[in-house]
């Protein structure tokens, strides 16, 4: 089980701030693909991601209990 955090337009489009899914041991890139199948109106391929609050590459494996956050283009400051 992993936690997926959603922010900004993703949170509004999906209607949830957090998902719990059985995708342990998949890569970030594979989970992006899975998200696009679940939510075909949303695009994840070029989106930044963070695993356990650190930026992560598409190749990184998400382990059981990890938190994967999708980081849409930011606009703070």
């Amino acid at each position: 089980m992993i936690h997926i955090l959603l922010f900004a337009h993703l949170q509004e489009a999906i209607g949830e701030a957090e998902l719990r899914v059985n995708l342990s041991d998949y890569t970030v890139g594979q989970i992006k693909g899975w998200m696009e199948k679940q939510y075909p109106m949303l695009s994840f391929q070029q989106m930044m991601a963070a695993v356990n609050e650190e930026f992560a590459t598409d190749e990184m494996i998400v382990n059981d209990g990890d938190t994967l956050a999708f980081i849409p283009p930011i606009s703070g400051g």
Binding site: Q11, E53, E54, I71, P72, P73, I74, G76, G77
Partner: protein, 158 residues
């Protein structure tokens, strides 16, 4: 006194409080950057804003920026507070306080901090206009990220 150097808050920011965190007997200059909500952006009138943050990661990114600044300018002290939630025109979204023995470095380090915040800190702004709303990202103000990677420095993935 509150001595958390980096904070995400949902109440108005007290600039004096942020400044106090960097006061030092060694400081000859304190530079405060105060980001405020502007009414017009490229001719379009903003009614109000909403900010959202991934708070624990945002704090980590503030700490990383602080570390980068310490490497470049060892004598600098820095504190950052960013607000989230509903903000009206002229409200303060962010305060960056930098102190330094000499002023030149205070300007450089402060500007470095806001530039980096806009690159790596997970905070999002939703604009409310008369004719709609939008979460702001590369569509309007920011440069698109290079494919698959954030515009951050080497060593961050370690």
């Amino acid at each position: 006194m509150n001595m958390q150097l980096f904070e995400i808050v949902d109440k108005p920011i007290d600039i004096e409080e942020v400044k106090q965190k960097v006061v030092s007997r060694d400081a000859g200059a304190i530079l405060l950057f105060i980001g405020t909500v502007r009414e017009f952006t490229k001719g379009k009138k903003t009614l109000h804003l909403e900010y959202q943050a991934y708070s624990p990661m945002a704090i980590k990114m503030f700490e990383q920026i602080s570390k980068e600044i310490e490497e470049r300018w060892p004598d600098v002290k820095i504190a950052i507070t960013h607000r989230v939630g509903h903000l009206d025109i002229s409200d303060i979204a962010v305060v960056i306080a930098v102190s330094s023995p000499h002023r030149k470095v205070a300007y450089e380090a402060n500007e470095y901090a806001i530039d980096r915040i806009k690159q790596i800190v997970p905070i999002w702004k939703k604009e409310f206009w008369e004719d709609g709303t939008e979460w702001i990202g590369d569509q309007l103000e920011n440069v698109p990220y290079p494919v698959g990677n954030p515009p951050i420095m080497k060593g961050e993935f370690s």
